[in-house]
């Protein structure tokens, strides 16, 4: 297990280093002079030179990378070229909003996928199975930006059940925060539910055919208890690995969901940074979300290893 942990940590460090090179290169992929791309051609040479120096663009490429990655390791991601605020401070304000949305979407996804997947497997080839699989297929095929717009159309504008846009911090008014959270969480979570339902169904189906299930039933255990105590425990292990990948999908999807529902998270910040050509904010935003996705993936893999004796004692 320790050797497995060492190997995974080493691979993560290498991947994080390569990710930093990719994010760093965004500024250098800009055709022409990045400073002109940011400021336009109408500013004077002195202003251009000042920004070039502030972004370190007047140094050799390797020195620029060293400076940027060294700063990032110390929590310094540079300054916004528009507001002149430190990027790390802006991200510190925005990240909790994105994490809240991602966590809420995960709860929605799991609350739908677990019962739907188990029911579809237990009632294989029935109307329930067909319905669950239809929903799952819809969940993975309907893009979140259309789903979000349709949910606003129905639940906000037509039935007036939930607010269409806006974010309320939980600390200010928990009930109102929850009302504002329902539609964004559904928008992001239904896609996850679609992907997980298919996975849970196939894993439960595989476990249903095993001998220990027959033994448990032969001992007189109720079927619901067999599912809860035996089948789910084994079936959820492969699902856990998919969940790690899905966290990355959720963090990416949050960009669009935040934009639809006007949530002031990292996603909205990144889109604004693209529009205003604020490259330090863009780089910082993408780097923090990507690092978060990679670390969560590692944690999920480790949880899988801890729960799976074949890796734990391997």
């Amino acid at each position: 297990m320790i050797r497995y942990l060492q190997g995974r940590l080493l691979a993560l460090v290498l991947v994080l280093a390569l990710m930093s090179v990719i994010v760093f290169s965004f500024v250098h992929l800009i055709p022409g002079d990045p400073v002109v791309a940011i400021l336009g051609t109408e500013v004077d040479q002195a202003t251009q030179q000042s920004l070039r120096h502030a972004m370190g663009l007047d140094r050799p490429l390797l020195a620029q990378y060293g400076l940027w990655v060294g700063g990032a390791l110390r929590g310094n991601l540079g300054e916004s070229v528009r507001t002149h605020q430190p990027v790390a401070a802006i991200l510190g304000q925005k990240l909790p909003v994105t994490l809240q949305l991602t966590a809420a979407a995960m709860v929605v996804g799991l609350c739908i996928a677990l019962p739907a997947g188990v029911l579809a497997a237990v009632r294989r080839n029935s109307a329930v199975d067909l319905g669950a699989m239809g929903l799952a297929l819809g969940g993975v095929s309907i893009p979140s930006f259309w789903l979000g717009v349709m949910l606003i159309l129905l639940f906000s504008l037509h039935w007036r059940l939930f607010p269409a846009i806006g974010y309320v911090p939980v600390a200010r008014d928990p009930a109102d925060a929850l009302r504002h959270m329902v539609l964004p969480a559904l928008t992001l979570g239904l896609g996850l539910a679609g992907a997980l339902t298919r996975m849970v169904r196939s894993d439960v189906l595989e476990e249903l055919g095993r001998e220990y299930v027959r033994t448990a039933r032969a001992k007189g255990l109720r079927f619901a208890r067999v599912i809860a105590r035996h089948i789910l425990r084994n079936a959820l292990l492969p699902t856990l690995t998919v969940l790690g990948v899905q966290v990355s999908v959720l963090l990416g999807g949050a960009v669009i969901t935040e934009q639809i529902f006007a949530w002031p998270g990292v996603g909205q910040l990144i889109v604004q940074a693209v529009q205003s050509r604020d490259y330090p904010v863009l780089q910082g935003g993408i780097l923090i979300v990507a690092v978060l996705a990679a670390v969560v993936q590692l944690l999920v893999d480790l949880a899988y290893a801890v729960m799976n004796p074949r890796i734990r004692f391997g």
């Binding site: 390569l18 090179v21 965004f26 893009p143 717009v149 504008l157 990416g252 669009i256 889109v271 693209v274």
Partner: protein, 274 residues
């Protein structure tokens, strides 16, 4: 080959996906035939009209015919999907094949680079690349292609690792064929099935990422009839004209569903082990 074709023809969902994709390809190829109006022609007096016999899907805020724009949008989506998948295949397949066949340090290095790209949420990496390369359809194609290079590299590497142990490869090596010739003549042709499946499934994701980029204002700029841009513009008129948001979204969902079903069907028919 015959057995695979029969297996696919028996796959009902895969066939349904194939029909949807065929309809979409027909819509894209024959867009000038199916359109009822010029997709760019504005008629302000006709703005935000509901569906009528004259305008099957109604009109948008500039009085443009939504049906014609949706049909032309298929052309744009197919182009982006095809070009980005070709780009990803052209880079990913040789890289994965070389890594799988050569092994050792090159394999380890190449795969860690692929892991780094894969670790990014796809849409986020595409946004970063488009922001750097400049907003527009061409940048979107390159960005989506880059996002998908590791997927093809990994799939090809996995397939090559299996094939290079086969006896016919050993025989070719014993006959004195070069590594490049063995890869080209014997190994790669046998790895096409998983690549084809991945390209079909990737096509669906490419359509979603492209529409997502346009929805965020980072893809194909207006007034081009792009599904994502149409949906983004329609948000302002959701109360008075919901149909303007419904039809482009339906088109995206249907296209994605079609490619996903076709990909699943091809996977089951061509490579049941996957």
């Amino acid at each position: 080959m015959k057995r695979r074709r029969a297996r696919f023809l028996r796959h009902r969902l895969g066939m349904a996906g194939g029909v949807v994709v065929a309809v979409m390809l027909l819509a894209a190829a024959g867009a000038p035939l199916w359109r009822t109006q010029d997709p760019l022609a504005m008629q302000m007096s006709q703005s935000l009209q509901p569906p009528t016999p004259q305008h099957w899907f109604g009109t948008d805020e500039f009085g443009r015919d939504v049906w014609s724009r949706v049909v032309y949008g298929a052309r744009l989506s197919i182009t982006v999907g095809l070009a980005s998948m070709l780009l990803a295949t052209a880079a990913g397949v040789p890289l994965g094949a070389a890594a799988g066949y050569a092994g050792g340090t090159f394999d380890a290095l190449a795969m860690r680079c692929m892991d780094a790209i894969l670790a990014f949420p796809g849409l986020l990496l595409a946004i970063g690349l488009v922001a750097a390369l400049g907003l527009g359809t061409g940048s979107g194609i390159i960005a989506i292609g880059v996002v998908y290079v590791p997927v093809f590299a990994r799939v090809t590497r996995g397939a090559v690792l299996v094939r290079r142990q086969e006896e016919y490869v050993e025989a070719a090596r014993a006959l004195g064929q070069t590594d490049l010739a063995i890869l080209r003549r014997h190994v790669l042709p046998n790895c096409l099935a998983p690549v084809l499946v991945q390209a079909t499934l990737g096509f669906a994701s490419a359509i979603v990422i492209d529409a997502g980029l346009s929805f965020l204002g980072a893809g194909t700029p207006p007034p081009a009839p792009d599904w994502g841009t149409m949906l983004n513009e329609a948000r302002q008129f959701m109360v008075s004209a919901p149909h303007v948001a419904v039809f482009p979204g339906l088109a995206i969902s249907l296209a994605v569903l079609g490619f996903n079903l076709l990909g699943d069907g091809l996977r089951d028919a061509l490579d049941p082990r996957l």
